[in-house]
Structures are given as C-alpha cells and as structure tokens.
Symmetry: C2
Subunit: 343 residues, 2 copies
C-alpha cells in the first residue's frame, strides 16, 4: 500500500479541488491510501466516498503571504506541517501540496530531511518535447539560485536516477544549459560545471552529452537538463511564457476572425488540440523536490481537481518506483568508495 500525505488546504481552489483530486487518484490506484490534512468540517463536506481516504483534522493554515520559516515554526497545527510530520514519522510515503512553495521547501528540509550526500534539494520539473511523450526533466528549476559545483554534481545524479526509475528513460542523456554547445561557452561557473560533468560522464556516473542551448529544450535535446536554479528558472519561465504567448495570439486571432475564424478552427481542430495537449505540462503532475528522504511534490497554485490528481499520480509513481531507495544506496556506496580511495 502506498500512502500519501496531502495538504488539503493549499492552493487557490482548496479544499474542493484537493479532495476531488484525491478521490480521482484513489479510484485509479487500488493500492493507494490518502491522508487528507485540513479543516475537518470543510473536508467532511467535500469528501464523497471515504474508501482509503482518511481525514486528519488540523486547525491552522499557512498562506502565500506568510514568511515560510516563521510560519512553519509558528503554525505547528497547519495542514502542511502536519502532513510533513506524517511523512517524517513513517505514517505516509510522500507529501503533496499545492500551497506555498517556500513553506513546502522548509518542511521538506527541516522535517522530512535531506538524503545523506545531498546538500540542497533541487526543484525538478518535467516539460514536453515536441516529438516524444516522455518529455525532458529539468533540475534545478529554481530552489537554489546560488548553485555551487557540488550542487550541480548532485543534481546530475538525482536527475539521472529520476529519469531512469520514475520516467523510465534508459541511459538518460544529461545536458547542461549553457550559452552555446561548445565546451568553452558560458561564464566561468558554467565552464567549471561543464568540465565536472564531463568527468562524471567519463567515470560512468552519468551519460553526459555536453552543453545544450535553451533554444532546443522543447526539441528534446536532452532527457535530463541540469542547471543552476537561477538560469534554470529563467529558461523554464521563458519557455512556458513564449509558447503561451504564441498560443494566445492564435486564440485571439481566431476569435477576432468571426465566422471564417470559427470555421478555420473547426477544420484545424485536430492539430490545434494536439498543440494544446502537448503544451499542457500539468499532465506531468507538478514539480518534485528531489534529494529529500521521501518524495515531496509541489502542485501548481491554481490546481484543479484533475491537475491535483496528476500530482497525486506523480507522488504515487515516485513512491512505488524505488527511486529514493536507489539514490540512497548509490550515494552511500559512492561515499564508501570515496573514503576507501582517500585512505
């Protein structure tokens, strides 16, 4: 049985969308049990069928306006803190929230804790690729703006294990976002990252294919895109925003073309729907904080029931994939090897 701890009070459409999403996920997976943390009365009112769904009453809420560290320390009976404690205490296998990203990172770090050998968790998102259904995975998408060389090394390892175990990509191609594909491109920091990743590739730790340009992300130039949290965030938002801008121009163009527009859109229904479906990356089920003792999944703030269900599916997949155990074992072995080599 996979057990998910769910912050049912986080998100613009909480708790309705969270409860409805939980029911959808429960219906799909026979071995899934969900703990819903939040206001008892509200959750009771929303929950239609309590099969494998337990309500865990909490009395406080952390909002987007709260300063994360202070809120986590001050609001012990908030839904997100109690859900995190359930994971910490072994009552649940993974944590899911569509609330404050800051608060989720804090409970992840302070309560669930890092895997030994990981200094900073990386925010990991999967985005679409035009020609395949697997998409590409980016780590770090913005958890750690001041990334150091060791963080990048760890992201490359975490991303590779995630791609292999969860997304089922064999021998995933790892690329580094840089200002050009040549080895000497970028600022000094990224030149060093490149050289270190080359070394990891030569050691057989990862399948490093070299520097990649943000221009080719949607073309699937790599399976795992390693990046510092600053430029990763810039690349991700530019990629999302630019695709959306073009799609919106098209929608507006169709709307303002009257009957011709309506008829044209009808004839092009199939390709237009294919684009909308392709660019809807909410199907990948939110972002994961990789590098923690248990999976922590962040849903989009505006998650609908269906979007939140995708996040729960995602948490279920990671928890049942053996990903975390595989990473832990690998890092332990590396540490032992390193110690042995150094002696």
């Amino acid at each position: 049985m996979i057990r998910l701890a769910v912050d049912a009070m986080g998100g613009d459409h909480a708790p309705e969308a969270m409860v409805a999403g939980a029911e959808l996920a429960r219906d799909q997976h026979q071995d899934l049990e969900i703990l819903l943390f939040g206001d008892e009365q509200q959750l009771q009112a929303q929950l239609k069928d309590s099969t494998r769904i337990k309500i865990k009453p909490t009395t406080e809420m952390i909002t987007m306006e709260d300063e994360p560290v202070r809120a986590v320390k001050g609001k012990r009976d908030s839904s997100i803190v109690q859900a995190a404690l359930a994971v910490k205490n072994g009552a649940a296998d993974a944590l899911v929230s569509a609330g404050s990203t800051g608060a989720l990172m804090v409970v992840g770090l302070l309560m669930i804790g890092r895997i030994k050998g990981i200094d900073r968790p990386g925010l990991t998102v999967t985005m679409p690729v035009i020609d395949n259904e697997i998409g590409f995975t980016m780590i770090d998408a913005g958890a750690n703006a001041d990334a150091k060389l060791d963080n990048i090394r760890q992201y490359a390892t975490l991303g590779t294990f995630y791609a292999e175990n969860v997304r089922k990509v064999k021998h995933p191609r790892v690329g580094l976002i840089n200002n050009g594909s040549e080895a000497d491109k970028g600022d000094i920091a990224h030149q060093k990252m490149h050289d270190m990743l080359v070394q990891m590739g030569e050691n057989g730790e990862i399948n490093f294919i070299g520097n990649i340009e943000s221009r080719y992300l949607l073309n699937g130039v790599a399976d795992v895109v390693v990046t510092d949290g600053f430029s990763g965030n810039v690349a991700l938002k530019a990629t999302e925003g630019s695709a959306l801008a073009v799609i919106n121009m098209l929608k507006t163009g169709i709307k303002t073309s009257g009957l011709r527009g309506k008829l044209g859109a009808l004839l092009l229904k199939r390709p237009l729907q294919a684009i909308a479906k392709k660019m809807d990356y909410t199907r990948y089920g939110g972002a994961v904080l990789l590098g923690l003792q248990s999976p922590v999944i962040k849903g989009h703030g505006n998650s609908t029931a269906k979007m939140f269900k995708n996040c729960l599916d995602h948490a279920y997949e990671i928890a049942s994939s053996g990903y975390t155990e595989a990473v832990k074992e690998y890092l332990l072995k590396s540490a032992v090897t390193k110690q042995a080599t150094e002696k």
Copy 2:
C-alpha cells in the same frame, strides 16, 4: 550623408545577399552611402547599380572557424578588419557584418574602441511584444557572460539611451530579469543588481520598474530588459526557440491534415500571417554592440538580402539618431559630477 562600412564577405549567403541588401537600403535612403568591403571581382559581379555604393577591395576573409583574436590580428586585409578601420579612421559612421560574432566583437573593442566610461559593450537585441510594434530591447544578450555590477549599471544607461534615441520610447521602463518580481528574488548577484538599479532609479538616471520574469518578455513587461550576458542569452534563446517550436507544430499539423488542413489554413490566413509577421524579429535589423565609439551591427549568419537590408536600415537609424553623441556627453558629465562630488 550617413556612411556605412559593410563587411560584404560575412554570412552564409555572402556576398550576394550583402550586395543586394546594400542596394535595397541605398534605394530607400537618399542620404546613405555604402562602402562594400570584400573580393573586388565577386562584388563587381553582384553589384547592379553603383550609385552611392563603393567597392573597397580586400583579399582576406575571416571564417566562423577562425579564432577571433588571432584572425583579426593575422588577417589585416580581411573585409571585416578593413571595414572596421574605415569606421575608426572616420571614413564611415557605422559597421555592419553578418560574419563571425567573435571577430566583430574583437574589431569593435580593439579598433573602434569603447566609449569612455564603458567597460564592456553589451550585445543588444530588440524582440517583439504581442501588443505593440516597438518591441522590447534586451542588453546584454550574451557578449559578457561574467557581468559585474558596473557592467549592469552601464547596460541600464546604454539601453535607456538606445530606447529613447533610436527606438523613440519616451521614459523607457527598465526591468531586470530575475527569478520573481519581488525585490529579494534571485541569487546574491542579482539581488545586488536590483538594489543598484533601484538607486539609479531614485537618482533619476533611469526609469527602473523592478525585477521582471522571463515569462512575460513577449507581453511587453519592460521596454529595456537589463540582464547579465549569461541569463540574458538563456532567456533570449528559450523565448525564440519555444515560440518557433509552437509555430512549427502548427505548420506540421496543418500539413498532415490534408485538404481539411489546407482549407483551415486558408480561412485562418490572416491570424496565421499576423503571428508569422509578429514573431519574425529579423525586421528589427540584427543585434547592436552598444557602448562603442561608433555603432556596430551584427546581422544573423543566415541573413538574406532583405534581412541584411534591415540591418543596414538599423545602422542608418542609429548613426543618424545622435545616440552615440548623447551617450558620450552623458557619461562625460556623469564623470565630471562624480569627480566634483568626490573632491
């Protein structure tokens, strides 16, 4: 009379496209004179009408494979070096090339030289904005990957003058690309950049509107987008690549939908053309290296005659706008004020 020095041998379609582009620009501007640097025989063969176009024979060429510094020093009789020398010696007002970006930066720095008060020139590009025709201007798009605080200060000034004088934007809104709009976002370097730009705004030097996210670039969130060359390059390429990926998906979808697709595309001809036109940023006429003693314009490597004509128009506009003189005067005054304050 505005005189442009043109490297007619740089670019995938050189020299044909360069010569044809020069003739188009000459026909449009009555007070424009063009000096075409390159292989005499080839240029003679391409040039149809020599009115206000002079061929300046050179015997060497710098290719994309050449190491820029060595090539510029070794190939003195190359078209790009001789064109740069013409600008340096006052025989021309601006330099235009679609050849090696590296070589162009080297001749810009070593031959044309920086404006006093500018440490590093910034590569400046103008990109489309969905709802207006002016677009936005980004500096630095990748000339200087390891930007320091002083570089960012200078980019804010150069970008503001360029927007005002060349792109005719009154009181241009300056934004800094960061991981969120709040003041404390980003890595330490970008937090410092933000605070410095706030100070410049308070001093009345620029109209700083704060941090902006790469997600909203095409929505026109700022007129001048200031950024370090590393993340600027990442943002620019992601924005271009993502828009192109969606447009290509649409094209493929239409093509593979047979007769329905053809008819649908015909009915949606107007909005589809509008999108294609909007996203065709080659109309902004290439990138400018801002901060040099004379305008230096870099055309895209695959420039056609029409694209290269846009670059020449752009060079003509900058040279006739009084931009460089205004920046020089401003920086001179600032230096004098600074000295006086320090005494």
